[in-house]
């Protein structure tokens, strides 16, 4: 039997399972066949797990016991920075060479409880530092839509796994755009949830005040279903928001959206991208949305704030990789040399650069000028967005300032690469939810994405607008 993987979604799959059209095993085997056929070229998966049979049996039992949810039996891929007990987790870095997770990440535990089939772990920029998946220590991942181009990053493997029909959906992580930009580059939907809604326990940290796990899928509904499955409190993550604080008192929507015009007139934004954005605006008007220009004078500083706070947190978070407790270890006579040789050999170039940048930013004499100033501006950006949301439901922009680019096009120029996060970073800076939704393709078949930001905890607004928009594309 051949299953039409391309047109499958979570709800349809669940119905096929309950109607007995095909079994979980049938579906998983189809995905494994695709992976076998395509992965050696695309390099989305770093590893396909060897315990899939056991996972299938568990999911079948959940169905038999009458406890199945929409997620039960859904084949998913995860990013290589999520701990899945007894499996290797490496954040695509040599420094974690051979590291086996000693426990399950909060999100992995939640997916397992619902009988999700975790097919394997996917490639990423090393420690999620990059926008093209080219900084991985395990080779490039190709964009399945055009294999001469990058899939975006850092969750490049997680999006390519879905885009090549090697998984129904996946989990990525997003520190400055690492779910949304690659989703945009591969014609998928990607959600960065509100900071604190999804557990970070067991996620290999990059910048802890910005990192958030979120779903990648083929449509808004799939992403919503997965978000609901992982939107939970976890006492192992002290920044997780208690459930009673997540209730929205007045969940209304006025259908008014804001466009930050000045932000769109900056340098480095492709004309094609802006043209597609105007078309998206028209589509939203067609379905009854009112579009207003909003002034957000501080939002353009988000990227500068990000490139201070992120490396500062990176330099402290990555201090734990010392060659002593796990992963790569270089032998030397002195302890200092064990540290520095292991770290020198284990970390890739971009990671080394960001650790040094963070070390500089946090060093005596510069701390006030950079870090303390960035923290103040971060707070001010947050205030600015909170105030604007009193007048509009959401803010829309393109997801990426450019279309999927070719390999080696930006890797040598850090600032050009950092610009990839221009539109996505503000949501991380302000802790608010944001989504990328496919908004059409250019003449070469390269995909565009529409980016929507909503107020704190208002993922529901993103899903409502997203579904309305999706029907128009």
């Amino acid at each position: 039997m051949k299953i039409d993987l391309k047109n499958l979604n979570i709800e349809k799959t669940h119905k096929h399972f309950t109607d007995g059209d095909f079994t979980i095993r049938d579906l998983v085997n189809e995905y494994l066949d695709v992976i076998k056929e395509k992965n050696h070229d695309i390099n989305a998966y770093l590893e396909v797990y060897d315990d899939i049979d056991i996972q299938i049996e568990k999911a079948e039992k959940i169905f038999k016991d009458g406890n199945a949810t929409l997620m039960t039996g859904i084949p998913m891929a995860i990013k290589d920075n999520m701990l899945c007990v007894d499996h290797i987790a490496g954040a695509s870095s040599k420094i974690l060479d051979g590291y086996k997770a000693t426990y399950d990440a909060g999100v992995i535990k939640q997916l397992k409880e619902q009988g999700v089939i975790i097919l394997g772990r996917t490639n990423m920029d090393e420690f999620a530092m990059g926008s093209s998946t080219e900084t991985s220590a395990y080779g490039n991942t190709k964009n399945p839509l055009d294999t001469s181009r990058v899939p975006g990053g850092s969750s490049g493997g997680a999006v390519s796994a879905v885009a090549m029909n090697g998984a129904l959906a996946s989990l990525g992580s997003d520190t400055g755009g690492s779910i949304r930009q690659p989703a945009s580059f591969t014609g998928l939907v990607g959600l960065k949830p509100t900071y604190g809604t999804v557990s970070r326990s067991g996620i290999i940290s990059m910048a802890s005040s910005l990192d958030q796990v979120g779903p990648i899928g083929k449509n808004v509904s799939d992403v919503e279903i997965i978000f609901n499955a992982i939107n939970a409190y976890d006492n192992l993550d002290s920044t997780c928001i208690p459930l009673e604080k997540r209730k929205i008192s007045n969940p209304t929507i006025s259908k008014r959206l804001g466009i930050p015009r000045e932000f769109l007139s900056g340098e480095g934004i492709d004309k094609e991208v802006l043209k597609n954005f105007e078309e998206s605006c028209q589509k939203l008007k067609n379905v009854g949305y009112e579009l207003v220009d909003v002034s957000l004078p501080l939002i353009k500083y988000s990227l500068a704030v990000y490139y201070i706070i992120m490396p500062a947190e990176v330099s402290s978070n990555l201090a734990r990789y010392d060659g002593i407790r796990y992963g790569l270890s270089e032998q030397a006579d002195k302890l200092f040399d064990v540290y520095s040789r292991s770290r020198g050999k284990g970390f890739g170039k971009e990671v080394r650069r960001r650790i040094l940048l963070g070390t500089y930013i946090l060093s005596h004499g510069y701390y006030d000028a950079y870090y303390n100033t960035a923290i103040k501006v971060r707070g001010a950006i947050k205030n600015e967005l909170t105030n604007i949301f009193l007048n509009v439901d959401a803010i829309i922009t393109p997801t990426s300032p450019c279309l999927p680019f070719k390999f080696n096009e930006k890797i040598k120029d850090p600032i050009a690469m950092y610009m990839s996060d221009l539109f996505t970073v503000p949501a991380n800076i302000a802790d608010i939810p944001a989504i990328s939704i496919p908004s059409g393709k250019n003449s070469e078949g390269l995909p565009y994405g529409l980016h929507i930001m909503a107020p704190y905890l208002r993922e529901d607004i993103l899903f409502t607008i997203g579904k309305d928009f999706e029907k128009q594309v």
Partner: protein, 98 residues
Amino acid sequence: MKLEDVKKLAEMARIDMDEVEMGEIAKDFDPILAYVSQVQEALKLNNIQIHTGSQEDYFLNNVMRDDVITNQPGEYTEKILNNTPDTENGFLKVKQIL
């Protein structure tokens, strides 16, 4: 930035690097630092709402729990030790520091 400064940073960060790469980083840092210095310009804007209290009020609050052991003794020992590069009699082995 000077090569000497990068050398010092690499030492502080405990990363062994060759001089060629440190030279490249020294060159890369100037445009990056110029770019991020924009944050100082942001502070000078009119009507900017800067929080004047402690930083903690913005993003942080204390999360407490009872001081009790929540796992079984030795529950993770084997798995953790299996990951360590060098062990002896159930201990993690490191180089002498003194």
